[in-house]
């Protein structure tokens, strides 16, 4: 199949259709509007559902309804819109409903701005809803990875009966890149949706209310067994140029992309540097940190936020290596030189 040139948001929308999307519910917000625009054009023609909801709160609850009826469903938004959906996400997890959420992140807090950011890391990995719950989340770095993960996301959601979030920053949503839409996706044995309340046959109840605390605790234990399986099986990451590396940059999404250029600059400067790129944000790829070479003298965590993933790196590092931090935020993107400088500074401090 020949490559075509797509805008990130269009690619997300097309990949969702290829992933089997039956019903979309959403409310507009920059910088992700091309997703609903594209889906509003294509889904009705295919006999599928597109609804522009009256708010983000309505959209996520429509997703709940469609998921409960067994449909492959999705909503997309950007940071403050995802914030509004937190209650619904907690309910989806509590009721074990599969769905796909896309967050095209912009600067915050509050209304913030429309330029790219990764400052929703806590919101994505810790969640803003109530209760003990987890959302599987992936943060791709380029459009090909985004398309591949989008197509797979619906399968993963159905497999675990849990929401799956694809988190990109606004730059990935807005940029143009070549993509191959038809790469094979990994095959999974998917269970029948024999729990879905689709209006006929045996009575089925989709619910997150438990009046008996003992039963609610059992429900939570069962959810956590599922989350443990996700931690075991869904950690994804990429290690780049780690062989004999002296330092490693830990970065995801657009920041990983900028870091790749920084690696080249550092190589020219004679400092062997590698990249640890988390692809899954939750589960955080702790496994990557047990595979690091003995040559490493330090880690630089680089984010388009001010030290959120840093916590997870500290947990995964278990106090072994010194950790430094570099962050830009509010929609500002660094040049590769700035990241390279931060590594050089780390090296200078390490040799003192």
């Amino acid at each position: 199949m020949k490559k075509i040139l797509m805008k990130g948001n269009e690619a997300i929308a097309r990949a969702a259709i290829l992933g089997g999307l039956d019903a979309f519910f959403g409310y507009p917000i920059t910088p992700q509007n091309e997703i609903p625009e594209y889906l509003s054009k294509h889904l009705p023609k295919m006999g599928k559902v597109f609804v522009q909801a009256e708010s983000e709160t309505a959209a996520i609850n429509m997703v709940y309804g469609a998921a409960a009826a067994g449909a492959r469903t999705m909503t997309t938004s950007s940071s403050p819109g995802i914030a509004l959906m937190q209650e619904g996400i907690s309910y989806l997890c509590g009721s074990e409903l599969p769905c796909v959420l896309v967050n095209v992140m912009r600067g915050g807090p509050g209304l913030g701005g429309i330029q790219p950011s990764q400052a929703d890391y806590y919101q994505i990995t810790r969640g803003g809803g109530n209760g003990d719950y987890r959302v599987l989340s992936f943060a791709p770095e380029n459009l090909q990875e985004t398309v591949d993960l989008m197509k797979e996301a619906f399968d993963i959601a159905d497999f675990y009966r849990n929401p799956v979030m694809i988190a990109v920053d606004g730059l990935i949503g807005q940029m143009m890149e070549t993509v191959d839409l038809h790469r094979e996706k990994p095959k999974r044995e998917l269970p029948d949706k024999d729990w879905a309340a689709c209006g006929s046959g045996k009575k089925r109840l989709v619910n997150s209310l438990y009046l008996d605390p003992a039963e609610l605790e059992r429900h939570n234990f069962r959810l956590f067994e599922k989350y443990r399986m996700m931690e075991e099986n869904e950690q994804r990451y990429e290690l780049v140029k780690m062989e004999e590396a002296e330092f490693a940059i830990v970065a995801y999404g657009t920041m990983a992309r900028i870091a790749r250029s920084a690696l080249e600059l550092l190589e020219e400067a004679g400092v062997k540097t590698g990249l640890i790129k988390p692809i899954s944000l939750w589960p955080f790829p702790k496994k990557a940190f047990s595979e690091l070479p003995a040559s490493l003298k330090g880690l630089l965590v680089a984010e388009l936020s001010l030290g959120q993933m840093l916590d997870d790196v500290k947990i995964a590092n278990e106090g072994r290596l010194p950790i430094a931090f570099f962050g830009r935020t509010g929609g500002m993107l660094p040049e590769p030189e700035e990241i390279a400088e931060a590594v050089l500074k780390m090296k200078a401090e390490a040799s003192q």
Binding site: K3, I4, L5, M6, K7, E10, R14, T30, P31, G107, G113, I114, Q115, P116, G170, L171, Q174, M175, M176, E177, T178, R257, I258, R260, S261, G331, L333, E335, P336
Partner: protein
């Protein structure tokens, strides 16, 4: 070349990159950013480059508000008509982006104005002649103008080959036959220039100014 050059097309066809390169190559006096559709990768990010080249950039943004997605148009957008100097107008994508041209209708002299349709045949919505014609009709209806020429801007960004440009040219030749329009310009990435043979239309060398080097 006409005095007033409007660049229109599908979003993601490379209009803005073409517009800045075109304005620099023809030594235009004004580059007018009329893109109120797209929130990122807009001509308004190029203030320094334009200043260095004595190209007056008129942006639709509020001063210092790069992150604004308000559909705000600077009053200076009328300056090129009053000063009557060679200008390039970068329109937003598709019909929504073309509508803005209606406010200039009384100022436009058809003899001095080109409406150039920028096409990348590797974009899903402009991959075949009938799709392109459909989009051109919507743009003309929305903006109240007639497209006067075609720009072959077929590309896969830095992966583009001469063969890709010829692939686009073949589709646009079919469009020439059906519409009577001509391929007036071809946008060619500067690195590709030594490798290309003949192409229809005047070649405009392209540097990707809006795309960061690491992207």
């Amino acid at each position: 070349m006409k005095k007033m050059n409007f660049i229109t097309g599908h979003y993601g066809s490379g209009k803005s990159e073409f517009a800045i390169n075109f304005a620099l190559s023809i030594g235009a006096a004004f580059l007018v950013d009329l893109d109120i559709v797209n929130p990122y990768f807009r001509t308004r990010e190029l203030e320094d480059l334009c200043a260095e080249n004595n190209l007056r950039l008129i942006s639709s943004s509020l001063t210092g508000a790069l992150g604004s997605d308000l559909p705000y148009i600077a009053k200076e957008v009328f300056l090129p008509f009053y000063e009557n100097l060679t200008s390039v107008f970068d329109l937003g994508g598709e019909a929504a982006g073309a509508r803005i041209v209606r406010q200039f209708s009384e100022l436009l002299d058809p003899q001095e104005t080109d409406f150039l349709f920028c096409v990348n045949c590797y974009r899903e919505e402009t991959a075949a002649p009938e799709k392109i014609i459909g989009m051109m009709e919507l743009i003309e209806k929305s903006g109240g103008f007639k497209i006067t020429g075609l720009i072959n801007n077929t590309n896969l960004l830095r992966e583009t080959s001469y063969g890709d440009l010829l692939y686009g040219e073949k589709i646009l030749e079919e469009l020439e036959r059906r519409t009577g329009l001509r391929i007036v310009y071809a946008g060619v990435h500067e690195k590709l220039l030594p490798e290309i043979g003949e192409l229809k239309g005047e070649i405009i060398p392209l540097k990707l100014y809006l795309r960061k080097t690491w992207l």
